[in-house]
């Protein structure tokens, strides 16, 4: 009977290859497209970091073949200072925009948000397709800078004017390279904005019956808050990008002060303010940090609960904390600017709010620990990476308490302490969440299981490796090692060089461990063990529909939700979990 009805309501995917896999409007295809885009980007980004690390640890070592990548940037395989800065800029831009913003939100979010809330697709499928392709073009424009004469820009991912606003007189890469960079970022903003609109409308209006907001898995909450944060912040970055582009090409002076003499040339600008860019940029830039980490928080909460076989500890507190982080995230941008020349009084205001944002972060940490407390932990690869996320988030978050205090920041700002801080908290932690999500959802995305043994080796290698890379950066940061330098030439830095070598070796080794993941990912896609319908015995709706997921997700019949998302080990229930759409009525659930 059920099958007959399904046939009536069933919707077929379009037939042609292009409409089905390339210009597809199917959220599952788009989710995978985003995922593989991010995977491609992260491989490039990591490769760039290898080159940088090799140069930092062994400045005289000639990396074979580097001059093929850039004949002027690395003549005779010797890396020039500007090429180092180009690599650094591209590493930062690629990682932050095309990996951390793309994979956890647009990748997993696209694939699993409609499945978890019981919808047939995103609200605006064609808009969704457009978001992806705009993002794709943005990445291509960015990568094109590697192939132009002057090479990629050298002004870092923050692109502070006047360095970024006055053209090639500021240095190699600041000509066409920087222009392409701004264009790429502006395009990325457009893609992100369209995507955010889609996420919000989908979450608010496409939930299936019974799926009220407080029954949504925390992943959906995280995607929702992230989308709202993205909606409000990317618009501002877009505005800043337009103004920067006009300064570069239109002769305006929004960010470029008057009376500059650069490389012996007096520039014709009327009197703009470099600090204005910093305000606009960080008004986006700080929320961006949360755009990168919030989906990871959602995924971590979801997975910790699933594999602890225990409801999320303090579900409501988790939701409120997400909201609080999202709101406070817009009020703290000035903490990137304590020593920028901004008024010291506002520095003080920003620092207090920044400390306040530590509170919801701490709440989340305690609740994660609370979720594990008294649970029955199944240590799958996904679970291990979720635990790794908590560990990294704590470590990276705590170093933020130093940087949030202006007097301490006046020493630590611009040192490797900052590098260690943000790599831990938004780099490694967010990537751990992506790994967790991959191991967890792979069966749903590809119908097969990933190899658990390889997964565990991958975890141990990555976990230990991440600490070996980034913990020493705290020490050299405290010792005063300045960041963004392509070489450490002075006597002061020389004693720290052995640590840089250590970090380099750790980075190369940890990078090599990631090859295990790549192998596992592609091998399992074709050769992995066939996945069961609900291999993790999880409760959320994506596990109620067969794999491969039908084109319309639920075969034309949407599930009805009767339970909260994390009903594990409910006393009196038949099994140790109650799926969200189960009609089983358990007395203890309401009481719990």
């Amino acid at each position: 009977m059920a099958e007959l009805e399904a046939a009536v309501h069933h919707h077929e995917a379009p037939k042609g290859f292009i409409r089905r896999y390339v210009f597809s409007t199917d959220h599952k295809v788009i989710g995978k497209q985003y995922y593989f885009l991010a995977l491609f980007a992260v491989v490039i980004g990591m490769f760039l970091s290898w080159l940088m690390r090799m140069h930092l640890g062994y400045p005289n070592y000639k990396i074979p073949g580097l001059d093929l990548m850039s004949p002027t940037g690395a003549p005779g395989n010797v890396m020039t200072p500007e090429y180092y800065l180009s690599l650094m800029t591209m590493h930062g831009t690629i990682m932050i925009f095309f990996v951390l913003t793309t994979a956890p939100q647009s990748g997993f979010g696209n694939f699993f948000l409609p499945l978890q809330i019981g919808a047939e697709d995103m609200a605006f499928p064609r808009l969704n397709m457009l978001s992806f392709w705009v993002t794709f073009v943005a990445l291509m424009v960015l990568l094109a800078t590697f192939f132009i004469a002057d090479g990629p820009p050298i002004s870092g991912w923050t692109a502070y004017p006047p360095l970024s606003s006055i053209g090639s007189v500021a240095g190699p890469g600041e000509g066409l390279g920087q222009t392409l960079w701004v264009v790429s970022i502006a395009l990325f903003c457009v893609g992100a904005l369209l995507s955010a609109i889609n996420f919000i409308a989908t979450t608010l209006d496409l939930r299936t019956r019974g799926m009220n907001l407080m029954r949504m898995p925390l992943t959906c909450w995280a995607w929702l808050v992230t989308a709202i944060v993205g909606l409000l912040s990317f618009a501002v970055l877009f505005a800043a990008g337009v103004l920067l582009l006009l300064d570069r090409l239109g002769g305006t002076s929004f960010f470029t002060p008057a009376q500059l003499k650069v490389s012996g040339v007096v520039l014709q600008h009327a009197g703009g303010s470099p600090l204005l860019w910093q305000h606009l940029f960080w008004f986006f830039g700080h929320p961006e940090v949360y755009i990168a980490i919030l989906p990871g928080m959602g995924i971590t909460s979801h997975i910790l609960s699933t594999f602890s076989r225990k409801p999320v500890f303090g579900y409501r507190a988790m939701v409120y904390a997400l909201g609080a982080i999202g709101i406070l995230g817009f009020m703290v941008w000035g903490h990137h600017m304590f020593v920028s020349g901004m008024s010291p009084y506002s520095a003080f205001y920003f620092s207090i709010l920044t400390m306040a944002i530590g509170v919801p972060s701490a709440i989340k940490t305690f609740n994660w620990l609370g979720t594990m407390w008294g649970g029955k932990l199944r240590l799958t690869s996904a679970m291990l990476f979720a635990i790794g996320f908590v560990s990294m988030f704590v470590t990276g978050g705590l170093s933020g308490l130093f940087l949030a205090q202006p007097p301490l920041d006046a020493y630590l700002h611009g040192t490797y302490f900052v590098v260690a801080h943000f790599h831990m908290v938004m780099g490694v932690a967010a990537i751990f969440a992506m790994f967790a999500g991959t191991y967890f959802w792979f069966p749903k995305m590809f119908g097969r299981m990933m190899d658990e043994t390889l997964g565990k080796i991958h975890f141990v290698g990555s976990f230990v490796g991440a600490y070996l890379i980034f913990m020493p950066m705290h020490y050299i940061g405290i010792a005063g090692n300045v960041r963004r330098q392509s070489e450490f030439i002075d006597n002061f830095m020389q004693p720290l060089l052995p640590i840089h070598r250590f970090i380099t070796i750790a980075a190369l080794a940890t990078g090599a461990v990631q090859l295990i993941f790549l192998f596992n990912l592609f091998w399992s896609m074709f050769k992995g063990k066939k996945a069961e319908l609900n291999p993790w015995e999880a409760t959320s709706l994506e596990w109620t529909t067969p794999t491969p997921v039908p084109y319309d997700n639920f075969n034309g019949r949407l599930p009805v939700v009767h339970h909260g998302p994390y009903e594990y080990n409910v006393p009196g229930a038949a099994k140790d979990y109650i799926m969200q759409n189960s009609t089983e009525v358990v007395a203890a659930e309401a009481a719990g």
């Binding site: 020039t80 200072p81 240095g171 190699p172 012996g264």
Partner: protein, 262 residues
Amino acid sequence: MRKLKWLAVIPVMIGLAACSSSPKASSESSSAAPAAAPQQQLKPVDPATVGEITGVVKFDGAVPHPRMIRMGQDPVCQKANHDKPVYFQDGEVNSNHTLPYVFVYVKKGAGQYDWTPPSEPVVLDQKGCMYEPHVMGVMVGQQFKVINSDPTTHNIHPMPADNRAWNESQPPGAPPITKTWARPEVMVPVKCNEHPWMRCYIGVTKSPLYAVTGDDGTFTIQGVPPGTYTLGFWTATFGTQEQQVTVPPKGTAKVTVTFKAS
């Protein structure tokens, strides 16, 4: 003009091309160069008849007090000069009241000859965080080679008006940078973006008829076909001068010019 160009961009921004400014913007193209003169038949230089131009560039005024270069922020540079003071070369005056670093070149009169650039390159060295030489000439199309003899990274940033600008770094151990210049230009200043005090000047000419005065203020241009020429004299801080000169066959023309303190 620049503003007009940007005016034309505004309508493009909103996708409308029919703004009233477009007729004005189009006037830009009217200043384009007239069509090139018909190709002249170039004469080969007869080596049997060539003469030379020699001369001295004098300076009228008090010898300025030399200004010391402060290299304190790159200890490598201080060490390379054995911690001895180094002085700025622009505006330097020889003790015999003559000028060094004057670029002397045939400005007019040599256009009818067929000058092929020699195959050996002109070399610019970076030594002791100074350019060596400070003033130099190179022919259009001739190889221009930059080497780095210092144990520190240098950056070569020529800022020409007519030629293509470039900006490349040269770490110690990197191979020489080799370029050519497409159009004559006197002079192309060269900066090092790593060491602000470093500067040299390159005179790009069509003929090999150029010379640079030395520490006695004299110069010699050899291999000049007989004829009448306009000589150009270029200095970094005292301005430029011109002088007519006639070179007899196999003979020597003598020239003296005097620059005044500015």
